[in-house]
Symmetry: C2
Subunit: 138 residues, 2 copies
DNA sequence: GTTTTTGCAAAGTATTTGCAAATGG
DNA sequence: CCATTTGCAAATACTTTGCAAAAAC
């Protein structure tokens, strides 16, 4: 289970590492395909999952039906434009009260926060079940 | 485009209206099928979308790959258990700083916040694009 | 050489859509 | 009746998986 180098993974990482636009797997695929014309979308997914497990990426869920990836693994929040779908960084949650229409250049209609962890029962017992994935690990 | 009554929609609403467990379309389907054995999952989806548009439901995105529906349309946050997938209400975002391991019965590993609205460009121009859906309308 | 990674195709979820028939007003 | 809603099947979107071949070490 040792991780071996791969040119595809390197290209994926090189593409995403400096980005601030939270690409989806498909965006990564579209770009990396230029250098690796027959790279498979499956390879992109596998590497994004691996990079996430390695702690180099963080998954971002904004409710638009696809997972976005963020090379900035520090704690910060996001803004999604309901019209163009763009995902933008918001400094951090202490800015929350301020991320209203005075400090934000666009228009903020609302927000939602999701906490994650273990519920009371699962914390107590070693309760089972399939759910495991959750991009934002602290 | 007037909305007409339907027994299926009534059953769906009756099922979901008092719930605090944020059911998914499939959970609604499974339950309502008892009374309407040949109801279609498409009908459930169509009605959940309609009820959401009518402002009777709110969509909840917790990053588990499916949309959850909440009859409590007031502003409040959610907690998802990484183990069992249960979605629980968290009073509201002003509790954020307190929703740590002292006030919460389970274990909070982290959280993420998503703001939504219009970005600077889309606010200015009448910029187009497909993205439209977003459950949490304030 | 053995292990990991890839590409491809197929499968797996979640959700949406087209359409003729059934239902509602 | 005319408009809306339904059930069904097919389609779509996103993501994962099985497997033999290629690449890494």
């Amino acid at each position: 289970m040792a991780v071996k180098y791969s040119r595809q993974r390197e290209a994926i990482w090189d593409y995403i590492k400096g980005r601030k636009d939270h690409p989806t797997a498909d965006m990564v695929y579209t770009y990396v395909k230029k250098a690796f014309p027959n790279i498979s979308l499956a390879t992109v997914y596998r590497n994004l999952v691996l990079l996430t497990e390695m702690g180099k990426l963080r998954t971002v869920y904004v409710g638009d039906g696809t997972v976005h990836f963020d090379p900035d693994v520090s704690d910060h929040d996001h803004f999604i434009c309901k019209k163009c779908g763009k995902v933008i960084d918001v400094p951090d949650y202490f800015e929350r009260a301020k991320a209203d229409n005075e400090s934000f250049p666009g228009r903020v209609d609302g927000s939602f926060t999701v906490f994650y962890g273990l519920c009371e029962k699962c914390l107590a017992k070693g309760n089972e079940k399939p759910y495991e994935s959750n991009g934002s690990d602290t």
